[in-house]
């Protein structure tokens, strides 16, 4: 068992904490989403849906709590998608040569960067959860301490697997394209459908069937749904929609995300083994 990925992880983290501007913006950004977009949207949604009768006996969840899970998913999506860019610069400025010429297996390079992205993603996740409380986002409402801890572990795992998946995807693109502009446009293209064809911000029940089917296979939907399972409970209603999450749903979410991450890992390995210096 070798642990060289720790060296890669160490380097990424040194640089993450070195640049305070990067560090701070990455932390402030999710808060801004929540504060501006979240509050604006939740007010209008709540107004629009206030007339829809809720089923009696089902706990009603404010839109901002529902959307909070989506904001986490969105934030983690963007940071992991752009997280691979570091590889492109490393390749461009031939920094990668040093590592490629060392005995470090190539899997470790991508794994090290992946784990650093997970760390950053978790920072952001918990900032959103923490800050969300201040603006009325009610996660873990009525949970006991144990239930809260289990929920946090669950969310951590989901976010970690999801981040790895998208980091591997982003890494494979980064190692393949030559210039930052190309990388940027590919990422924008990829992120758009993933973000909008999902239940991150709104329920998918109203989608046309075609989009609905697509969105069910979207890792973004799996993550947002999974976070809701852990944070909001298995039975709640929001905007007049009644949600029931079962154990099967959460198992499917985990399996789906693990599958996605593994596919992306093999894609990354395939691209990585082609890298010539």
């Amino acid at each position: 068992m070798s642990f060289e990925f720790r060296a890669i992880y160490w380097r990424e983290m040194v640089k993450y904490f070195r640049y305070k501007s990067m560090l701070i913006t990455s932390m402030v950004q999710p808060v801004m989403w929540l504060a501006f977009f979240g509050l604006a949207m939740s007010d209008s949604f709540d107004k629009l849906t206030s007339l829809v009768p809720n089923e009696p006996g089902v706990p009603v969840v404010a839109y901002i709590s529902y959307m909070g899970a989506g904001i986490i998913a969105m934030d983690v999506l963007f940071s992991s998608l752009f997280g691979g860019t570091t590889l492109m610069f490393d390749k461009k400025f031939s920094l990668l040569r040093e590592t490629l010429a060392s005995p470090v297996p190539r899997t470790h390079i991508i794994l090290g960067i992946g784990l650093s992205a997970v760390t950053k993603a978790l920072f952001q996740t918990f900032i959103i959860i923490g800050f969300g409380r201040l603006v009325g986002m009610e996660f873990f409402k009525g949970y006991t301490l144990i239930e809260t801890l289990i929920a946090i572990v669950g969310i951590t795992l989901l976010v970690a697997i999801f981040t790895l998946g998208f980091l591997f995807l982003s890494g494979s693109i980064a190692i393949t394209v030559e210039n930052p502009e190309g990388m940027q446009s590919i990422l924008t293209l990829v992120s758009m459908p993933i973000f909008f064809v999902s239940n991150a911000l709104y329920p998918i029940d109203g989608f046309p069937t075609f989009l609905k089917v697509l969105s069910m296979f979207n890792p973004m939907t799996l993550l947002a749904g999974g976070i809701r399972y852990f944070a909001l409970g298995t039975n709640f209603s929001v905007m007049g929609n009644h949600y029931i999450y079962t154990t099967v749903d959460i198992v499917v979410a985990f399996l789906g995300l693990i599958f996605f991450a593994l596919v992306m890992l093999s894609a990354a390995m395939w691209r990585f083994n082609k890298v010539d210096i």
Binding site: S2, F3, E4, R6, A7, I8, W10, R11, V14, K15, R18, Y19, F93, S94, L95, R97, E98, T99, L100, A101, S102, P103, V104, D276, I277
Partner: protein, 335 residues
């Protein structure tokens, strides 16, 4: 087998239909500085990349520190240090972090890492810069940091690909000092260069490489002595005729015509030969315009063996009407 840190046999490498390395064999002995001298595109970097396992070996055999480059790449990697042709430092990390990272990717223990970093900062005079970011270093300092990094794991052999390319002469000379110091500490050094002076100043042995082939190998002195004791540069009113006359003289080893002058290789003491030569030419009615005597330099050696100047790179010959093979002696002067 013992005493050789690098052994290469019949190495060949092609990019598509272009043969970059053409049946090369050589050995590098323990503790020496060995140079590949040749123009850009001669195949130097390809050889270095194969030996450092960065490029797959296509044909032939190569061993570094006793390990087969093709079969035991990881053992090779653990035995070597590399300074790449292009600067490749992390500009966003400090000097000591750059070294720290290197130690980490080679799984060095923490204590060992910090001890080695201290030693190397001292060796390369970077102690005062240890917390400076890579991007704030001067070109020469960056190179020294790369040198330190290459030595981090105490490699059996240090590879340097054009280590002083683009540097001014002071920086280069300083770099040479560091390399000599490293050699004194027992590290074998393999370097490629297209600076004659660099090969001359540093190397225990030099291989001149051109068009993917080793033309000749030897110590700097051996290579120069091959050209005779002295060189005479002669400019006359009729170089062609003068060359004919000179070729008939016993004391003249070789005559080459450059654009304006004749280059005459002399086997004996030039002080006796020169009056004879001048006499002979004058008697034929040819006027002597300029005479210059010098000891053979690496430049002369290079031109002699490859048939063209270093700067001309890939162009074969130099179009001076002087392609009369000046003995591309594939002979190895010494092994």
């Amino acid at each position: 087998m013992t005493g050789n840190v690098i052994e290469v046999n019949n190495l060949e490498h092609s990019y598509g239909s272009i043969k970059a390395v053409d049946n090369i064999s050589f050995t590098v002995k323990q503790g020496e500085i060995f140079s590949f001298l040749g123009p850009n595109g001669a195949g130097k970097s390809t050889v270095i990349n194969i030996l450092t396992t960065l490029r797959k070996l296509q044909k032939g055999e190569a061993r570094v520190n006793g390990y087969d480059v093709a079969k035991e790449p990881n053992s090779v990697r653990r035995s070597i240090g590399i300074v790449f042709q292009m600067l490749c430092l992390d500009h966003e990390m400090t000097v000591s972090e750059n070294l720290e990272y290197h130690g980490r990717i080679y799984s060095m223990k923490k204590k060992e890492r910090s001890k080695r970093i201290e030693e190397l900062l001292k060796l390369t005079d970077l102690e005062s810069k240890k917390d400076t970011l890579g991007k704030d270093l001067s070109g020469g300092m960056k190179r020294r940091l790369e040198l330190a990094r290459g030595l981090m794991t105490k490699p059996a052999v240090l590879f340097l690909d054009e280590p002083t390319i683009g540097f001014d002469i002071q920086t280069r000379m300083r770099m040479w000092e560091y390399l000599r110091e490293i050699k004194r500490e027992g590290t074998t050094i393999f370097l490629t260069t297209h600076y004659m002076e660099e090969a001359d100043q540093l190397s225990d042995r030099i291989s001149i490489i051109d068009h993917g082939k080793i033309i000749v190998t030897g110590t700097s002195n051996e290579l120069k002595n091959k050209l005779g004791k002295d060189l005479i540069y002669l400019e006359t009113s009729d170089n062609k005729a003068a060359a004919e006359i000179l070729r008939s003289l016993v004391s003249v080893k070789n005559v080459t015509e450059d654009t304006k002058s004749l280059r005459i290789m002399i086997g004996e003491d030039v002080t006796h030969v020169l009056p004879q030569i001048m006499d002979k030419i004058r008697r034929e009615g040819i006027e002597i315009i300029i005479v210059n005597i010098k000891k053979p330099s690496m430049d002369d050696v290079f031109v002699h063996y490859t048939g063209h100047g270093l700067r001309e790179g890939n162009e074969n010959g130099n179009g001076n009407g002087n392609e009369k093979q000046q003995g591309i002696e594939t002979a190895v002067v010494s092994e």
